[in-house]
Amino acid sequence: MSAEALVARDLTKTYTLRGGITVPALRGVSLTIHPGERFALLGRNGAGKTTFLRIASTLLVPSSGTVEVFGHDAIGDPDSVRPLLAVVPQEGKPFFHLTPREQVYTYLCARGFSRATAKARTEEALEQMGLEEVADRLSVTLSGGQRQRTVVATVIATEAPLLFLDEPTIGMDPFARRGVWETFRRLTRRGSTILLTTHYLDEAENLAQRLAIVERGRVLVVGTSESLKQQVGGTFRVSVGGGSRIRPQLASFGNLVEDGEAVHVIVGPERVQEILALSVREGLAATVGPVTLEEAFLSVVGHSINEES
């Protein structure tokens, strides 16, 4: 296998709808994901995350560009790539008329595992996902979060070299999400590579070693959570309640993230005092804290939207 888990070069995808309307979903995406890495794709709804993931996982043909998975051509020779990967589909559900134990076990058998290995891995995956108590109940009787955990259990049990997880923790409670994160970390320690998409920025921050922000089919930035925060102009966030009233003055200090009437100003430590003083003069409440990934995300995507419009 080659050095890189996934290499995508200049991927484009344009959907043609009824009436000949074309919708560009990807507009030249290039990404490299290293073996053993946990990589997150972030973006708004419709940004192109799922399209990228489906192309990379051999489920969709791009309009142009190439994808290599461990050196194999994922587009021209999907059969050589499929044994190396497993996918949690967006909004995927288990067979309603199988139990979680049957779902995981039969999937592993269909992938070619021996019955003994399939059985052992099924039990391990069910335990890791906290599904032991419901393992023999039909999935139709499970809650949404339990169904989602069943799908994740099905995929992690494969221990495939490359795992594609499209919003894997959607619908799970905070305890379950943290349990799943720990399982993902364990999988990458064992050598698997994970590419996930998520709308939970705390999930990306806690889990991903690197991340990319995608907007309107383009990659805006790639880096670590920390490097991304630094790219937005500072490490502090000064939140000014009702700050929209003095927006022009606040904009002179640094990047703004607007949140209703409140305005968050992203600045370095040297400008914090000045903003607090301005807020006091204007009779507005202000708080200071570290920049979060969410603010960095909003700032990066917000800039992109403003530039395009």
Binding site: R54, S57, T58, L59, L60, V61, P78, D79, R82, P83, L85, A86, V87, V88, P89, Q90, E91, G92, K93, P94, F95, F96, H97, L98, E102, T106, Y107, C109, A110, R111, G112, L138, V151, T154, V155, T158, F164
Partner: protein, 250 residues
């Protein structure tokens, strides 16, 4: 060349998966015979002379309906559950997914079809040749109907949109042509057309093999046999190609 590239990896295991899924829906299996049972009851009460035709037709109609079940199942687990993504992005071949699903549905729904066959044997026993023809035509019909059902399922993005087509196909192949009634009820110029449909040609071939049930010329029967064979093999091969192609959307 294309045939040599067909991959069967995982077919047996996915057959067992689908069988497990179907067996959890036992009521659906039992009720799959309701329409046929009601029809046969009416035939016994109102037109007993066509009972052998109706019984042969009921067996073949039940086999044809397997394709509708494959169509619904394939569409449901792709559209509602997204499970096709889970299986296509895996070593299970796209061909194995399609054939395994078809075989799993067949195994689950075979017992009620066999019950019908036993009733046929009790009420209007078939000779050895007619029995062999029934088995052969049912196998060809199964290939045709499952292939057609699977291919059709890939064209839709909404389950509800499939319903009218399913109804249309059931009527066009199972209800209107002479499957459940004798072909003699149709004017002669319709006979060659009926022989082009795999369902009615299968029924007529079995009836012809059971001496005296149908009086069709040898060329007409030959047309039916060739049409059934070509349609079954042709549509099956296309479905194998299509299963592979649709596993990687364009």
């Amino acid at each position: 060349m294309a045939l040599a590239r067909i991959r069967w990896a995982g077919t047996g295991e996915f057959t067992l998966t689908e069988l497990r899924v179907q067996l959890h829906e036992g009521l659906a299996i039992v009720t799959s015979m309701v329409v046929q049972a009601v029809l046969l009851t009416f035939v016994v009460l109102l037109a007993r002379s066509i009972l052998p035709y109706a019984l042969i037709g009921a067996v073949l109609y039940s086999v044809f309906m397997l394709g509708q079940r494959v169509q619904n199942e394939a569409a449901y687990i792709r559209i509602d559950h997204k499970l096709s993504d889970l299986y296509h992005a895996s070593p299970l071949s796209a061909e194995g997914y399609f054939v395994g699903m078809s075989a799993g549905v067949l195994l689950a729904y075979l017992p009620p079809i066999l019950v019908l066959a036993v009733v046929l044997e009790l009420v209007a026993p078939l000779g050895a040749v007619a029995t062999l023809v029934l088995i052969a035509t049912a196998a060809a019909l199964w290939l045709f109907t499952c292939s057609l059902g699977y291919v059709i399922s890939t064209f839709f993005r909404d389950n509800r949109a499939i319903w009218p087509y399913a109804s249309l196909i059931t009527s066009a192949f199972g209800v209107l042509p002479p499957v459940l009634y004798p072909i003699r009820f149709l004017p002669g110029y319709w006979h060659p057309i009926a022989m082009l449909l795999p369902t009615s040609s299968a029924a007529c071939l079995v009836e012809a093999a059971q001496g005296g049930l149908v009086a069709l010329s040898a060329p007409t029967l030959a047309l039916g046999a060739v049409a059934l064979l070509v349609e079954a093999v042709g549509v099956f091969l296309f479905a194998l190609y299509w299963a592979r192609r649709s596993a990687q959307e364009r």
